[in-house]
Amino acid sequence: MDTRELYRDVILDHNRSPRNFGRLDPADGAALGHNPLCGDSLSVTLRVRDQNLSELRFNGQGCAISMASASLMSEAVTGKSLDEIAALYHDVHELLTDRQYAPQRPLGKLMALAGVREFPARVKCASLCWHTLNAALAQRTAPAPPTVSTE
């Protein structure tokens, strides 16, 4: 078990200096994610223009894996179409859980999360932001901000 695979420099950097940290107000979509295992919570607010995610901010506190994953996600999805984000969501899920997975599309800096799959107890830390993003996108038409959980 090599923790350097998990705590790569990119992860440590994004944990120390998270990108797109904060809150958008007003926002087109918002959701609160919760990891009952550790009590961590994470909020995602976003804006959508012409089926493209134009802006995203996340907020909250959590471990290095969850902070870095949210920060990397915020960079990866900004400017992407909703269809591209859905495909990316699928790819990241496979990347986090399937040891055999070889991505069909270049995932760029998100590949820094590949080490997580060797640490099953930490997969939820990395996936929380993606579940929350999905909930925030789904909420755009719903009345009250939903809360999602990794359980």
């Binding site: 078990m1 090599d2 923790t3 998990l6 705590y7 440590l12 120390r16 295992l37 550790c38 009590g39 961590d40 506190q61 959590g62 471990c63 290095a64 894996i65 902070m67 640490f119 107890a121 930490r122 830390c125």
Partner: protein, 422 residues
């Protein structure tokens, strides 16, 4: 079977040879294993203590020589199983100095024991406007059952404040007592911080006012002398796996007059005397509260665990753990940015801490890579974490088998965490 014979007098404990944690370690087979290429350092006994060979052998002996259902058959196995199961009950009674085996109810654990009281006692005694008083440092198992009972009967749940060191603020506690208080339910020892609560004072306050008291002893039973007669509490609960026994077995001690008046909790076999389609008559104490086939081997394993601890000498174990706690408290503070949470003068071997700039989960993963097992998170005590403005802590907890070398490995691993995170 290598289970030592039971001795309960303190005089015997004082005749024990000098306590040696190294010799104790040899009694716990799991401590010989490696984790991630390193010899295991187990510092998570507050979550679940490991089991000595004597416990594993007692369970094996039961399963291989006398397993059958209890209280039912006239055949030899059933009689032997019943004798072993009821013998374990007597073992528990002596360990906590209850007056009678009618006061010892086997449960799945502390959680089930508290639920039993909250529902059975609560259903009988809690009315609209009544109050139940707990503290801010309770385990969720001593919060949620009372929330449910209060919601069912229109009662109110109040939580007493803490001191900055993580102990009970006794004045604040006293101020919350009123003529509406029906039940005081508090931890004997905090699971998240290790603080020992002033239970004698709490019980005295309750007695003066005719309030019932439940003590959650899950974190005390392996580390403090527990005498329910001297404590004079109404209910005392604990789990087998916190005291070197198996999981899935626990104990509710209840004052006999209270248990006798309480309605049964769950219905089924073993808790009845006679059953007709329209009504049943209930069994005597303690079986009235033990519906269904009990965890027979768990109870026998628990009895063996109490034998084991008694043979080690609870006083010697206590001294050892306190010495190690003092050592660890000093050693941990050499780690840059480490802050201990829970620093009361009277505490058990629990070291809850935070490390600047590092989330407890990352500490846990990096320590595990070094073979060091600790607990990280909210420790099922979210209100206690919130009280101190925290989401989570890392928690190292000590058992009879830990040594100074374990503390050295913990500190070395924490210094590695510092290296990774800067």
């Amino acid at each position: 079977m290598s289970t030592p014979l039971a001795h309960s007098t303190r005089a015997h404990a004082e005749r024990q040879p000098v306590f040696s944690a190294e010799r104790v370690r040899a009694d716990f087979p799991i401590l010989a294993r490696e984790v991630n290429g390193h010899p295991l350092v187990y510092l998570d006994s507050a979550a679940s203590a490991q089991q000595p060979r004597a416990v594993l052998e007692a369970i094996d002996h039961y399963a291989t020589t006398m397993h059958a259902n209890v209280h039912r058959g006239v055949h030899t196995l059933s009689q032997q199983a019943t004798a072993a199961f009821e013998g374990a009950r007597e073992r528990v009674r002596r360990f906590i100095n209850a007056r009678s085996c009618r006061e010892i109810v086997f449960t799945r654990g502390t959680t089930e024991a508290i639920n039993l009281v909250a529902q059975s006692w609560g259903g009988m005694h809690l009315k609209a406007g009544d109050e139940v008083l707990i503290t801010h440092l309770e385990h969720h198992a001593n919060i949620v059952p009372w929330q449910m009972a209060c919601a069912a009967h229109g009662a109110r749940l109040l939580a007493a404040p803490l001191t900055p060191q993580g102990g009970l603020d006794l004045d604040g506690f006293r101020a919350l007592l009123s003529e509406r208080t029906r039940m005081i339910a508090v931890a004997h020892v905090s699971n998240a911080l290790g603080s020992v609560l002033p239970v004698a004072e709490i019980v005295a306050l309750a007695r003066q006012r005719g309030i019932a008291v439940l003590l959650d002893g899950a974190q005390a039973i392996a580390h403090r002398h527990v005498d329910v007669s001297a404590l004079d509490c109404d209910f005392y609960t604990f789990s087998g796996h916190k005291v070197y026994g198996p999981t899935g077995i626990g104990v509710l001690y209840g004052r006999e007059s209270l248990l006798a008046a309480m309605p049964p909790w769950q219905g089924g076999g073993d808790m009845i005397l006679t059953v007709a389609i329209d009504s049943s008559s209930y069994n005597d104490l303690p079986w009235k509260f033990e519906a269904g086939t009990p965890n027979i081997s768990g109870a026998i394993g628990l009895g063996a665990a109490l034998d084991y601890l008694e043979a080690l000498g609870p006083e010697a174990v206590h001294r050892h753990e306190q010495q190690l706690l003092a050592e660890a408290t000093v050693a941990l503070q050499t780690v840059p940015g480490l802050r201990l949470v829970g620093t009361t003068a009277d505490k058990t071997g629990v070291l809850s801490f935070t490390l600047d700039g590092v989330h407890p989960h990352d500490i846990g993963t990096l320590l595990d890579a070094e073979g060091v097992a600790i607990r990280t998170g909210h420790h099922c005590a979210m209100p206690a974490m919130t009280y101190f403005g925290l989401v989570a802590t890392a928690r190292a907890s000590l058992g009879c088998y830990n040594t100074g070398a374990d503390i050295g490995r913990l500190v070395a691993a924490l210094l590695k965490v510092r290296e990774v995170f800067g």
